[in-house]
């Protein structure tokens, strides 16, 4: 029997092996934003509650790098990251918040309970800004440089180990 008869079987086995290997690899569910490196699109959001300032794309163009935190009072991981945002603020980070699909009273309740690290909080009821900057969930945190260009994206809640990374990215955006 010719060895060539075995070639299709080996080719098939190699294909099955490749597929089995790929299927058992952990899947990365994070959708990275394609807007990193791009300027923030124009937007102008009203305040998310009484007594805070709303958020405009112009808020970011004053030469000072900032964190842009996409969050919501109904989001559980946002409670988990609240202490880390507090610690970032204490270490000098300026943090701008955008509340997604949220009510002013819920926003106020959340901040009363978990602290308010924000200089501005915008209200995005239609996820418009979220979609415009390529964020696919809450919470997400972007580093915006002083010219309003998106420099870095952190997906998911901020853990203690992410704090120095974000401070470093802010420094790099200076």
């Amino acid at each position: 029997m010719s060895w060539r008869l075995w070639v299709p079987l080996f080719a098939f086995a190699a294909f099955v092996g490749l597929a089995a290997y790929q299927l058992t690899q952990p899947k990365d569910d994070f959708v990275q934003s394609g807007m990193v490196g791009q300027p923030l699109p124009y937007f102008d959001l009203p305040p998310a509650m009484d007594g805070v300032e709303g958020v405009k794309s112009g808020t970011f163009a004053d030469g000072e790098p900032r964190l842009l935190n996409i969050w919501a009072s109904w989001c559980l991981p946002c409670i988990a990251e609240a202490p880390q945002l507090e610690s970032l603020e204490q270490q000098g980070a300026k943090i701008v918040g955008i509340a997604i699909r949220d009510r002013p009273e819920d926003v106020a309740g959340f901040l009363a309970q978990h602290g308010n690290p924000y200089t501005h909080i915008g209200r995005d009821d239609l996820s418009e800004v979220q979609l415009a900057i390529g964020s696919s969930g809450v919470p997400e945190t972007f580093v915006i440089d002083g010219q309003g260009v998106i420099r870095y994206q952190h997906i998911g809640d901020i853990r203690a180990r992410d704090v120095p990374i974000l401070l470093d990215e802010l420094e790099k955006a200076r």
């Binding site: 569910d29 959708v31 990275q32 934003s33 394609g34 807007m35 919501a72 009072s73 109904w74 989001c75 559980l76 699909r101 949220d102 009510r103 819920d106 009821d125 239609l126 996820s127 418009e128 979220q130 979609l131 415009a132 900057i133 390529g134 696919s136 969930g137």
Partner: protein
């Protein structure tokens, strides 16, 4: 975990989701456009865009609030005269090819289109040789 504890655990996670749903949906999340041709174009596009929250559904199929907000974006953009292709590339620019279910030939996907053609060509060549031998 005991059953009551499990129930309490599930409830703790269900509450914020319930709160997320208490906000009214975006105006055009569930409302069709007046113009049937525009609505048809929007619908066709929505069926080929991936919901980012529930990653195996299209935004037309999903009831996730974020999918509703994406449908709103698609409809108002179609109503404003943007073409479906422009809206698709607007989203691809932000979320990558991943957001689109419509296959496109690109630097990474060309083998998917080329390999079947190659296999057909190889099969054709083998058959041709065999028939020639017989004849």
């Amino acid at each position: 975990m005991t059953r009551p504890a499990l129930a309490a655990f599930c409830l703790a996670f269900a509450m914020p989701l319930a709160a997320q749903q208490t906000m009214p949906p975006a105006p055009f999340a569930y409302r069709q456009l007046e113009d049937p041709a525009q609505e048809a174009a929007a619908q066709e596009l929505m069926e080929t865009l991936r919901c980012l929250k529930c990653q195996s559904q299209s935004i037309a199929d999903s009831d996730a609030p974020m999918a509703g907000d994406m449908r709103h974006q698609v409809r108002i953009r179609v109503a404003a005269g943007e073409s479906p292709d422009e809206i698709r590339s607007w989203l691809i620019q932000r979320y990558g090819d991943y957001v689109s279910y419509k296959p496109a030939v690109s630097a990474t996907t060309w083998p998917l289109f080329a390999i079947p053609l190659l296999l057909i060509a190889v099969a054709g060549a083998i058959l041709l040789r065999r028939f020639r031998k017989r004849a």
